[in-house]
Symmetry: C2
């Protein structure tokens, strides 16, 4: 039977679970599949296309005979095992931030820069969830009219922080609805950071730890990954990343300056209506605009509230929403696998081989 042997690393996590679902729906020819996770989750059962599988413990040897591995078990796991997998002939699609900015590692949104895949050396990085959905919405505009500047403020869901964070938000919300004034927080805004704050009925202007110049690492990811994906170091990008009490579905208030003049809101709507991976939801008269609650479970990026800036004729505002676990993570990873297959790139180049 032809097809690929595929491994999912981090199979029991929020994204790993969605990777499994997306692979079930994918047309990618799969010969065999393997679910890998930490020792703690090994032994648990999952189903795939009606068959039951036992989650195996992640080891370097587990990648022997695998053609592709989708990693989503945290940056340190990718740092430790991605190259081990590649060394065993397995192409890695990594959903963590471990290699995204590494030179030579393609950072790919298939609707935007599939051609970057041709240069892969074994590892392909899946961009940050917030970045991906913005790229899908903005690339058609960049191609048609040029893009000068992006200022984005995000409204990010908790599911990007994992299953424990989802449960923490739900527990906090339950307690606050019962009248508790002080609720516990031990994970959010960032599991590895010193202080933790409740997210229920709150908004936290911190995602990931703080980095240079007062920006968080999440904000730097949006800034740097955007430039890499769009292959444009001159593109101006700034970001404010905020966690809101939404379970799944990231929303973004995106302001852009485009290079061309005399572009109308209708031009942008016409463009986005036929753009790959985009669903235009923009009709103020019918109160139609994207919402995280209606975007959840969908693979597309939803765009609406397109308006010209009041004071700048080449400035526009957009409201961009997508399921952060799907297009923002699992679905984009599976799309990369599909693209690798279609482009005949599911192989690890030999040392010294020119790609």
């Amino acid at each position: 039977m032809s097809g690929y042997n595929v491994a999912i690393v981090g199979a029991s996590g929020a994204v790993g679970t969605k990777m499994r679902e997306m692979l079930e729906e994918s047309s990618l020819p799969i010969k065999g599949i393997k679910f890998l996770a930490s020792k703690r989750s090994a032994g648990n059962k999952v189903t795939f296309k009606g068959e039951t599988y036992i989650i195996e413990e992640l080891t370097a040897e587990a990648f022997l005979g695998m053609d592709m591995a989708l990693f989503s078990a945290g940056g340190s796991i990718s740092q430790r095992f991605a190259q081990e997998a590649v060394d065993r002939g397995c192409v890695v699609i990594d959903n963590t931030s471990a290699f995204r900015m590494t030179q030579g590692v393609p950072l790919v949104v298939p609707e935007v820069n599939p051609q970057a895949l041709t240069a892969h050396q074994g590892i392909i990085a899946n961009p940050n969830c917030s970045t991906i959905q913005m790229m899908v919405a903005l690339e058609p505009i960049r191609q048609a009219y040029g893009l000068e500047r992006i200022i984005v403020s995000t409204y990010q869901a908790v599911s990007g922080a994992g299953v424990l964070a989802i449960n923490e938000l739900k527990d906090q919300a339950r307690e606050m609805l019962q009248g508790e004034e002080e609720v516990e927080a031990s994970i959010l805004p960032c599991a590895g950071d010193k202080k933790h704050y409740p997210l229920a009925f709150n908004a936290l202007a911190q995602i990931d730890v703080f980095g240079a110049e007062g920006y968080t690492e999440e904000e730097w990811k949006m800034i740097n990954e955007t430039k890499k994906i769009m292959s444009d170091d001159t593109l101006k990008v700034s970001a404010t990343c905020v966690r809101v009490p939404v379970l799944s579905g990231h929303s973004e208030s995106v302001y852009i300056d485009i290079k061309e003049d005399n572009v109308s809101v209708q031009d942008l709507k016409d463009l986005l209506e036929k753009a790959p991976g985009v669903v235009l939801e923009d009709n103020p008269e019918e109160q139609l605009y994207p919402q995280p609650l209606t975007a959840v479970g969908e693979k597309e990026v939803f765009v609406g509230r397109i308006r010209r800036d009041v004071d700048k004729s080449n400035g526009f505002h957009l409201w961009v929403v997508s399921d952060n676990l799907l297009k923002g993570a699992a679905w984009n990873s599976v799309q990369i696998a599909e693209s690798l297959h279609e482009m005949n790139l599911v192989r690890v180049p030999q040392v010294g081989e020119q790609s």
Copy 2:
């Protein structure tokens, strides 16, 4: 006994309740107080400084003998009764949008433009909640360095939409936490509009009805009121207003271009640290930044996450949070009353009298 006779119109509402509390804490000399509301709420009891009062039905005659009235019972009530009150010698501080853009009606944030009060003809307008907190944060910067442009994305709490909307959000959240997938919505995003969507675990990019050019009326309020309060028609302002599942406390991601060059983040921090009505909460190392949950119940405007734009040396980002029922509504109204008292302006000018 010296002092004023004060009426609260809309005494049983979310803002009216806070107006009562703020007046209790205020140093304004109050001789007598009267609580007015619709026929439906008339007869209910409220306490003020330990005394019990019965809410009276709102009529034009109720303003006879009153010196000041704080209105917060919706725009149509203000349209119908504000001038009636003025005609009976009562100065009106109106928290609705009814007269905000009316020429000759001062639109006042006491930290920003108290001098506008001197021209009042009986009615003074309290600005929109989202506008007020942004003005308090930006006016010191405008005065010191000049302000060229504002781009704001809001994260607004439900309490601005009233008591029924608060209850709707709580009910939806409870049901969703119990596993309900479809929850009812009959108020939000906008009571008077055709369609209603759940806010629990969602983000709704609509506050108020849609107006010109695809902007909502809430967005137009922020744009137009900002220019009026800052007395600058050339100031560039654009807004995206979003409701998030927060009970009280509006947050804003504010981007500004200032006129002066060579201003540092530290300059802005130093300025805001001593600005009236502002509390600087800005220390990334200590994960200190404003949060709606900690701003609730406080009268100040909290500012943090101050960063220079990555690509524009005179561009800065700020995160501005305040209790929308207090500084955004009740407290600002009471501050206007205090200013009128201090400036000896608690009187309705006679017809033809120059102010």
